[in-house]
């Protein structure tokens, strides 16, 4: 196995495992803010109880998120040092900003959120909860900025060193293996780097995906209690907050998905053609709902809606969506393969700039199908809620719905992972789009056996962590929220404040 493959495998594995947890922290964070706000407004101990219980679940996801996240911060240097040398001038500042602005905020106020119940008053505690949620979103901002720059680099120029002096390279300079070590990308315009063409679309999409993960977790656990007829008051209140949130996030996610795909069509046409499975350029490009990609014959088998992809991309049915067979542009290919002058050679050279089409097609379609299914489920559940059937757990349709809701927690998790696989595999063979190849970017001094050793180590540790996470989560769910009638847990100082509020009212 090559070093490049192993380095990619290691990054994929550690990032995919890490990404189970931060979306839960981001989504649950917003829900905790909502629950505490409800509690502060109403003084109803039920909401206090909810905030306490979901904080415990939050703490669990947060701890593993931090533990697996430290690895990511250093993996750019350990496994991708050539990349780090090449982009450090730009990419590093986003990571540093994430540390200074987001992680300190999160970790500092987390202490108050988890341990401060009897150290500070309810308003300060609420403030801390807001800051933790805010910090979690801020870290999403900076890491998505960094990643989006890799997808759609902007606000930079290439620079090399000639006899000790920096020399600016012209735009369109093609990075060759001989350039590595001397040529690097340096920042021109910080804000153009931060707000590169895909940042806003992708950030919105990622955050909404995280909200869905948090919301459906709350929905799932609450639905489980309803089915088991346990902690009923708690479960009803929780599922309402969760469902409302899931509904809003799912609808917004559809809108965001549309924007994101249009952005991909504009900025990364090869990626769009690959995820949608478009080989031939033809007017009225159809959209394949699901199917099978035959990479050999370059065909896609599956139900298609004529003209829909053209319409969604351009707003008109006639204009074609460029197919892979015409991508990338001839000039782009000739600049890199000067001898690709015959149609056969050109076609062959073009393929070296395609991602793995069957893989990205399936990941992308899995994400969309799950997203639509979750929206449908949320709609049905809200309809049941509106009709007053949601809590009639003796009705068979309600029971079936609740079973579906219990399982719904897996939906956003799978869709979030699938979405990232589509986005990142869709970027290949580039590590920085149209600029630096992944095959040029790994650490030259790290050997295959070292990566295998660390991969085995992380494999074991992460498997253990994941098993423990599931075990402790199950235990927490089994244990359930504390006392429902009278809240013993609430500190005396807080009770006094609530009493005072009630008296005043």
């Amino acid at each position: 196995m090559s070093v490049e493959f192993l380095a990619r495998l290691q990054f994929t594995f550690t990032a995919a495992v890490h990404y189970i947890y931060p979306p839960l922290s981001i989504g649950l964070g917003v829900l905790l803010v909502t629950m505490e706000a409800l509690w502060l407004r109403t003084g109803n101990p039920l909401f206090h109880n909810m905030a306490r219980f979901w904080t415990r679940i939050f703490a669990l996801t947060f701890a593993i998120g931090v533990a697996t996240g430290i690895v990511m911060e250093f993996e750019f240097g350990t496994n991708w040092s050539t990349y780090s040398r090449f982009v450090g001038d730009i990419f590093g500042s986003a990571l540093a900003a994430e540390g200074i602005f987001a992680f300190f905020l999160e970790s500092g106020f987390l202490a108050i959120l988890l341990f401060g119940w009897d150290k500070v008053g309810p308003r300060v505690h609420f403030f801390a909860t807001c800051m933790v949620a805010f910090g979690a979103h801020f870290s999403a901002v900076w890491i998505v900025v960094a990643n989006s720059w890799m997808q759609t680099p902007s606000g930079y120029h290439l620079q090399t060193v000639v006899s000790g002096k920096p020399v600016t390279l012209p735009p369109g300079h093609i990075v060759t293996p001989a350039d590595l070590g001397s040529v690097r990308a340096v920042v021109d315009d910080f804000w153009a780097m931060v707000f590169n063409p895909s940042t806003i679309d992708r950030l919105t999409h990622v955050v909404l995906g995280a909200w869905m993960a948090g919301a459906f977790l709350v929905v799932s656990i609450s639905a489980f209690y309803l089915l088991k007829k346990r902690h009923l008051a708690f479960a009803r209140a929780s599922i309402k907050v969760g469902l409302a949130f899931a509904m809003v996030a799912s609808v917004l996610q559809m809108v965001s998905g549309d924007f994101t795909a249009k952005g991909v069509a504009k900025n990364q046409p090869i990626k769009l053609a690959a995820i949608e499975g478009v080989y031939k350029t033809a007017p009225g490009t159809p959209m394949t709902l699901f199917g099978y990609v035959d990479a050999k014959t370059e065909t896609v088998i599956g139900p298609k809606i004529p003209g829909l992809l053209s319409f969604l991309t351009w707003g008109t049915f006639a204009k074609p969506v460029p197919g892979l067979l015409d991508l990338p542009a001839k000039e782009f290919v000739l600049a890199r393969y000067p001898d690709a002058t015959t149609p056969d050679k050109l076609a062959g050279a073009r393929k070296t700039f395609w991602p793995n089409v069957p893989a990205v097609f399936q990941f992308y379609h899995a994400m969309i199908l799950i997203g639509v299914a979750l929206l449908g489920l949320a709609l049905v559940a809200c309809f049941f809620w509106w009709r007053g059937w949601l809590f009639h757990t003796d009705l068979l349709p309600t029971r079936w719905l609740l079973v579906a809701l219990v399982l719904s927690v897996l939906g956003p998790q799978i869709a979030n992972q699938a979405g990232w696989f589509a986005a990142e595999l869709g970027r290949q063979p580039w590590i920085v789009y149209d600029l630096l190849m992944t095959s040029q970017a790994f650490s030259k001094v790290v050997q295959a056996n070292q990566i295998i050793a660390s991969l085995v180590m992380f494999g074991l540790v992460y498997a253990l962590l994941f098993a423990l996470f599931l075990f402790l989560l199950t235990r927490k769910i089994q244990h359930g929220p504390d006392d429902e009638e009278e809240n013993e847990e609430m500190p005396e100082s807080w009770k006094a404040i609530i009493q005072e509020q009630n008296e005043r009212a």
Binding site: A96, A97, V446
Partner: protein, 341 residues
């Protein structure tokens, strides 16, 4: 007035972040190192809860230090982390283990469960401290770099006796720092237990530190040359030793907070010793010093250093404010409550 040299500013700022990490995570790693020597379950829970609200924020200093190094000196970041590949992977694994051990230990009451996480926490802390020290030792001694600044040594080459001595010194330093923190945060039986260990650990630490300095002057030729040119380095070393020697007296007189501040000062002065001796190098190449990375050939452009300075000027006061307020909220002796670990 001319503008300050941004490369120097960032050398100092990266130094500040790693010093902050050493001082803050140093005491919670130290608590981990001594964890197994404390036998009672209740005492072990007090240990965990004394660092419970703060360890995670302390570790953020490492992450931010890494990010700042990446942004300001990408060549140094790339060289060190790819060169120390296996050592860093082990460090990350130990940090993961101790992080989740803190979180998981008290979730169940089974004896085997708690014992497992006790060992994970303590061993994770010990290995992390040792590896940080070994990495520092190698940076001081210099590592083989080729002309394109790529590491040209081996993993086992990093485990040389000199670096291991620095590793041991670091473990003792963190253990001392952790014990003093515990003396400040605990009361009664546990307080007396840890306080009794402090003078002995300080003694062993100072012996090890003395040996390390002596070996450095003999083994690492560039250090001797540098301190001849910068004799004030000796004053800084002497100050750190004197402050360390004063700690037992503060403990004896019940001024634990002063003792803890002294211990922080010792660490600050040790990092300062390293910084003023090492300047302006970032990663020293040995034996071929011409391949070394310094604050100029390892740095990002002036523009990025400037942007980063704005980020730091905006962010650092906020960071200090959060850190100070968290330590203020959780001041005083640690007690066990329902939501404790």
């Amino acid at each position: 007035m001319s503008l300050p040299d941004l490369n120097i500013v960032w050398f100092v700022l990266v130094g500040v972040l790693f010093t902050g990490y050493a001082i803050l995570d140093g005491f919670d790693l130290g608590v981990g190192i001594v964890h197994l020597f404390v036998k009672k379950d209740e005492h072990r829970r007090l240990l965990l809860n004394s660092i419970g609200p703060v360890w995670d924020g302390n570790e953020v200093w490492l992450v931010t230090g890494g990010g700042a190094l990446f942004a300001a000196f990408p060549e140094a970041y790339a060289t060190v982390f790819s060169g120390f590949y296996l050592a860093f992977m082990l460090l990350l694994c130990s940090l993961i283990f101790r992080a989740v051990a803190i979180e998981f230990r008290s979730k169940e009451e089974w004896i085997w469960w708690r014992q497992f996480w006790d060992v994970a926490f303590s061993l994770g802390s010990l290995v992390a401290a040792l590896l940080i020290g070994v990495a520092m030792g190698n940076i001081v001694r210099g590592i083989p770099l080729d002309s394109s600044h790529e590491f040209a040594g081996t993993f086992f080459g990093l485990l040389n006796p000199y670096a291991l001595l620095m590793g041991l010194t670091t473990v003792l330093l963190f253990a001392m720092h952790g014990l003093i923190y515990l003396a400040m945060k605990t009361e009664g039986e546990l307080h007396d237990l840890v306080s009794a260990w402090i003078p002995r650990v300080i003694g062993v630490f100072l012996a090890s530190y003395f040996l390390f300095n002596l070996t450095t002057l003999i083994e690492v030729p560039w250090v001797l040359e540098t301190v001849r040119a910068r004799p004030y380095v000796f004053a800084v070393v002497a100050a750190s030793v004197l402050i360390a020697l004063n700690i037992p007296r503060e403990i004896h007189n019940g001024r634990e907070f002063n003792a803890f501040l002294s211990s922080c000062a010792v660490m600050l002065l040790m990092m300062a010793t390293f910084g003023i001796t090492y300047f302006p190098n970032m990663v020293l190449s040995s034996p071929d010093q011409a391949n070394s990375l310094n604050i100029y050939n390892a740095a990002s452009t002036q523009k990025t250093l400037g942007i980063m300075l704005v980020i730091a000027v905006l962010g650092v006061p906020l960071v200090l404010a959060y850190t100070a307020s968290i330590y203020w909220v959780f001041r005083g002796k640690t007690t066990l409550a329902k939501h404790s670990y």
